[in-house]
């Protein structure tokens, strides 16, 4: 060959390169070999996480609110199952599970089983949370279905479902960000996402345990080397009453939105917190219901919004409680102060056409006369109103500790200067005071704040710190936290003023706008409110407390955009809840239980602000709908 020398040159290059490879092999195996041998040994020790059981949540009487329900998963352990059998097993399983809600197909099962072969000693999930019928059927045919196992796994379950949705929140799998942020979460951990589940996450989650096991290369345990057991989450007893939650849901019906908040006035215990529309928190505990989850977040009714804490509204006439107390406390009003209502005042109308005539304080409160309170407001002016409102829990975060809250507004000249733009900004005028005095204008409150307001008012101005934890019992049985009442503020309302307040609140229910909340044999007092809203559909309010002389429940009912009067729609709900509670507690004799109030919701007007047909009361007019 003419270029035979070049072939030999190539041979030299090849020999050179291959000897480089051999040198590297020598280095890896003979010099570094013992290091790699050590690494390959440590490949065989595996740390396994032992997940603790999440803490159980019960109500004040021990009724379970969030529990860990046993559930059954169908899994497949490939070890020892001949490959030819897979198709038959997949077919039989698909047939057996055909009755499930979302039956897996034969092809899906077969694919999962083939996938499982990659780690033949670890079981692969085929179907989660199957019915007991399937469990029985599979157990029966055990010998026909080699490798198919039923595994028991705890799932979070909320027995009351939507009734406790916003109170308890829900759980979801830890997000990649949470896992990254070194907070101790690992993939597959369940984390509280809202409400009590989120607020008490560290206590409910418990402490993970670990076991170090020696495994062979396929993950099969050879022996256990060490174990640090998991510590189960704490058992949490809430101050909440499950019955009230349930009654609130019953009374609210399906198509209205709003909120119910009940407090124990003298201690600050949260008795109930319900927001409508509610969602079923159980959909978050089930991977299969992702479509339902997605629809919750896109629903225009905003079921995920906790209206008790995260929404603010004009309080309407319920705010007259503040105005009355401010007047009495400053001496600007006495029970005998009389103003005249001619139906129109300074261009603004009272809700009652033709007016109420001359009224004293109690009757003005009882019949919710706007014009009386316009004039009262003018006399009191803004600072006392704001001071009393703040002392009773408005214009501040309610501090429930159950997630995000709204601050709300009770306006002052400084506030208006800071927040209102336009020609009106610098002048806090008579009109602003008048509107504030009847709970319109700039005033914004959340249902939780109104529940605090009525509770503080009926306890002579003692504002308690709200709390939802009655006690927390650790896994070892020791109680690590117990409820203790804390006074946040005390307005020290004198007895004679309290007498007037009680008389007025009782009169509202006895023979006033809130007569639908009257309960035979129970001393209950309240105040209605019909607040104008930007949509033109009024919000209906009712706040009340019972028994008035020794208050055990302070309640706020709010129906968002109800387009009806507080006395018409909110008071019956309060009556239903308080009456049932009173019967259960033995304040009144336990006779026949009235059914939940049935309401017919008026059709929504096409154009916002158009006249609304009310059920009984006359139609609301501009600045006049404050019943």
């Amino acid at each position: 060959m003419p270029y035979g020398g070049r072939s030999l040159l190539l041979a030299a290059v090849a020999a050179f390169l291959l000897s480089g490879i051999l040198l590297r092999c020598y280095w890896l195996q003979c010099v570094e070999g013992s290091n790699y041998a050590q690494i390959s040994e440590s490949n065989a020790i595996q740390q396994r996480v032992l997940r603790p059981a999440r803490g159980v949540i019960v109500d004040r009487r021990g009724v379970p609110l969030a529990i860990n329900r046993p559930s059954f998963d169908v899994t497949f352990l490939p070890k020892g199952v001949p490959r030819e059998e897979y198709e038959r097993i997949a077919g039989e399983l698909a047939e057996l599970m055909g009755t499930e809600a979302q039956p897996p197909t034969r092809a899906e099962l077969f694919a999962l089983m083939k996938e499982a072969r990659r780690r033949p000693f670890n079981s692969m999930l085929l179907a989660a949370d199957v019915s007991r019928r399937i469990v029985a059927a599979i157990s029966e045919r055990k010998s026909d279905l080699p490798g198919v196992l039923i595994e028991n796994r705890a799932r979070r379950y909320y027995p009351l479902g939507p009734a406790t949705a916003h109170l308890l929140g829900y759980i979801g799998e830890a997000s990649p960000e949470e896992i990254e942020s070194s907070s101790g979460y690992i993939r597959g951990d369940l984390v509280g996402r809202a409400g009590v589940e989120a607020a008490l996450e560290p206590r409910l989650a418990g402490v993970k345990g670990y076991e170090n096991v020696e495994v062979d290369a396929l993950g099969q345990t050879v022996r256990k080397l060490s174990e640090q057991p998991a510590v189960a989450g704490a058992r949490v007893t809430l101050t909440v009453d499950a019955d009230i939650q349930r009654w609130a849901r019953e009374a609210f019906g399906r198509d209205s939105s709003g909120a119910v908040v009940a407090l124990e006035p003298k201690t600050g215990r949260i008795l109930a917190l319900y927001s409508a529309p509610a969602y079923d928190p159980n959909v978050f505990a089930d991977r299969k219901r992702s479509a339902e989850r997605m629809s919750l977040f896109s629903d225009t009714m905003l079921p995920m919004l906790n209206r008790a804490l995260q929404s603010t509204y004009s309080p309407g006439s319920t705010f007259k409680t503040v105005t009355m107390l401010a007047g009495l406390l400053t001496g600007k009003l006495t029970p005998s102060t009389v103003f005249h209502c001619a139906g129109v005042y300074a261009g603004m109308h009272c809700w009652k056409e033709g007016g109420h005539g001359s009224l004293d304080l109690v009757s003005a409160y009882q019949h919710s006369c706007n014009i009386y309170f316009y004039q009262a407001g003018e006399r009191i002016w803004i600072e006392p109103l704001h001071m009393v409102a703040e002392a009773l829990g408005l214009d501040q975060f309610p501090g429930f500790g159950l997630g995000p809250e709204e601050h709300g507004v009770v306006p002052t000249p400084e506030w208006e200067k800071a927040h209102v733009k336009g020609p009106d900004a610098d002048i806090f005028g008579t009109g602003d005071v008048r509107n504030t005095a009847i709970g319109q204008g700039y005033v914004l409150v959340s249902p939780a704040q109104m529940a605090r307001l009525v509770s503080s008012a009926v306890t002579a101005g003692v504002r308690m710190k709200p709390a939802f934890v009655e006690s927390i019992e650790d896994a070892d049985g020791s109680v690590s936290e117990r409820f203790e009442p804390h006074v946040e503020a005390d307005l020290k309302i004198p007895d004679e003023i309290m007498g007037t307040l009680r008389t007025a609140m009782k009169a509202v229910v006895e023979d006033g706008t809130g007569y639908r909340a009257k309960i035979e044999g129970l001393s209950i007092g309240g105040k209605t409110g019909t607040a104008q809203s930007p949509t033109g559909l009024d919000h209906a309010w009712f706040i009340c407390a019972a028994p008035l002389e020794d208050p055990k429940i302070g309640l706020c009912i709010m129906l968002e955009n109800a387009a009806q009067h507080g006395g018409t729609v909110a008071a019956p709900i309060a009556k239903y809840i308080v009456e049932r509670y009173a019967r259960r507690e033995g304040w009144i004799s336990d006779t026949a239980v009235a059914p939940p109030p049935r309401r017919t919701r008026p059709p929504k007007p096409e154009v916002p602000g158009a006249p609304v047909a009310a059920e009984t009361a006359p139609a609301a007019e501009t600045r006049g709908g404050n019943q």
Partner: protein, 458 residues
């Protein structure tokens, strides 16, 4: 130059027996490598734990081990058959073989089966094969035939360009699959065959320098961009920004053309060579920027994890580290069939195909590795020796092509297993599980044996 057909008539009995003997320096190493791969595959497939998983394993005749044995035997039979083929007939039909190969590659793109995102397999009846493997033989034959034409020697540069096109067309088709690793094997022929057929050394040096520069730019550019090992500055701009490279290319084209023109007017020799030296290296650097834009994300990731496998030991760097752990933990004498848990069981992926060398390393240790590497050295040197001895240029170049294909596979595959190369799906010849590759390599060896026989008998 025409070869005489091997004739049996008119020769002595001894000579005719001698003619039937195949070169032991080719067959011996080939069988050794195959034997070691069989043992490694045996330990993977028939580890005691595997019987626990699959109780019917012993009677299962579709395991990779059994198939490997069958493919190997068929390959050996094929090799023997090709060893007795008339090379002149093959040479005469090379054109048809080449076009047939192209048809197969087009068919793959149209009707191929996708496995792990690469459309490389063609299924005809019960037979599923990889045309891109067979093309390796086809390209060796085609390039060897073209370069062995007598007039080619006179015009080395146009020959180089023509061979580049000959190899470029199937490369483009295979890149469509997309299978970069196989294309690199094809392109390696471009480094050796023209050189072996008389391309002046300065051109080979030019190619090597250009490849080196482009590769260096590619690696540092990716390292800087993704790992941020160099702070902002001139160096970073040079390796990450294509504009300086483009400017350099333009300047060099103008300057090179001017110098070359001046040289040729002064009647100096090598004017064109000077021009090429001025233009090709900057062009290849700029080309590496274009390649970066066309690399798939997973390909970039592989290059990156090659540069820094410890960055993500459980992610994309997993394969490299696990392979090194498996290989290194074999030590001097290996762990034996039962002890080699790293590679034979769960940890090492692709252990039957691309990472079979790691299995050999773990099972047999450096002792077995040295034998296997030694066998490859012997095999490749012997093929090149046969090439040097061959009296026929076609046969000689076929041997160089076969050696090139083997060497590239060995370097890339072993380099990958021991962490010297980025991960590329290139099998280890005669060892990795896979029918088409096995038959391809045995066919190449068959041609080498045919060359050897004819050289010996003439």
């Amino acid at each position: 130059m025409r070869l005489r057909k091997p004739e049996t008539g008119g020769r002595s009995q001894a000579a005719s027996q001698f003619r039937l003997v195949l070169d032991p320096c080719i067959v011996g190493p080939a069988l050794t490598i195959f034997f070691f791969s069989l043992c490694a595959l045996f330990s993977v497939v028939y580890h005691p734990i595997a019987f626990e998983i699959e109780p019917n394993l012993a009677t299962d005749f579709t395991t990779p081990f059994v198939k490997h044995l069958v493919w190997g035997t068929m390959g050996l039979a094929g090799m023997t058959w090709f060893a007795f083929i008339d090379l002149e007939k093959v040479r005469a039909r090379t054109r048809w073989i080449y076009f047939g190969g192209l048809v197969l590659l087009v068919a793959v793109l149209l009707f191929g089966i996708k496995v792990r995102n690469i459309r490389a397999w063609l299924s005809i009846g019960i037979l599923t094969f990889q045309p891109s493997e067979i093309i390796k033989v086809v390209l060796v034959l085609a390039a060897a035939r073209f370069l062995s034409l007598p007039e080619r020697e006179e015009r080395p540069l146009t020959s180089l360009a023509a061979v580049a096109i000959l190899i470029g067309i199937p490369s483009a088709l295979v890149l469509k699959q997309p299978d970069l690793g196989t294309v690199i094997v094809y392109l390696s022929l471009l480094l050796t065959l023209p050189f072996a057929s008389g391309l002046p050394a300065q051109y080979l040096i030019l190619i090597l320098v250009s490849c080196l520069l482009a590769g260096l730019r590619l690696m540092t550019g990716m390292a800087v961009e993704s790992l941020g090992v160099i702070p902002d500055g001139v160096v970073k701009t040079l390796v990450t920004d294509p504009h300086p490279a483009l400017m350099l290319l333009v300047v060099m084209v103008v300057a090179g053309a001017a110098i070359a023109a001046a040289m040729s007017m002064a009647r100096m020799r090598h004017a064109f060579t000077v021009f090429l030296y001025a233009v090709v290296p900057p062009a290849s650097i700029y080309g590496s920027f274009l390649l970066t834009d066309h690399l798939k994300p997973y390909q970039k990731l592989r290059l990156l994890t090659f540069l820094a496998p410890q960055l993500d030991p459980k992610g994309s760097g997993y394969n490299i580290l696990q392979s090194q752990i498996a290989f290194g933990s074999g030590g001097l004498l290996g762990k034996g069939f039962r002890g080699a848990t790293q590679s034979t069981l769960g940890f090492l992926p692709e252990r039957q195909t691309d990472f079979i060398f790691s299995v050999i390393g773990e099972v047999f240790g450096f002792f077995g590795v040295a034998i296997v590497v030694g066998a490859f050295v012997l095999l490749i040197l012997r093929i090149l020796w046969i090439s040097a001895q061959a009296r026929d240029r076609f046969g000689s170049l076929v041997c160089v092509g076969a050696a090139t294909i083997l060497l590239t596979h060995v370097l890339v595959n072993m380099g990958m297993a021991i962490g010297m190369m980025p991960i590329m799906g290139i099998p280890l010849p005669l060892a990795s599980y896979g029918g088409t590759a096995m038959v391809t390599v045995f066919t190449l060896l068959g041609f080498v044996l045919a060359v050897e026989r004819e050289t010996r008998l003439l």
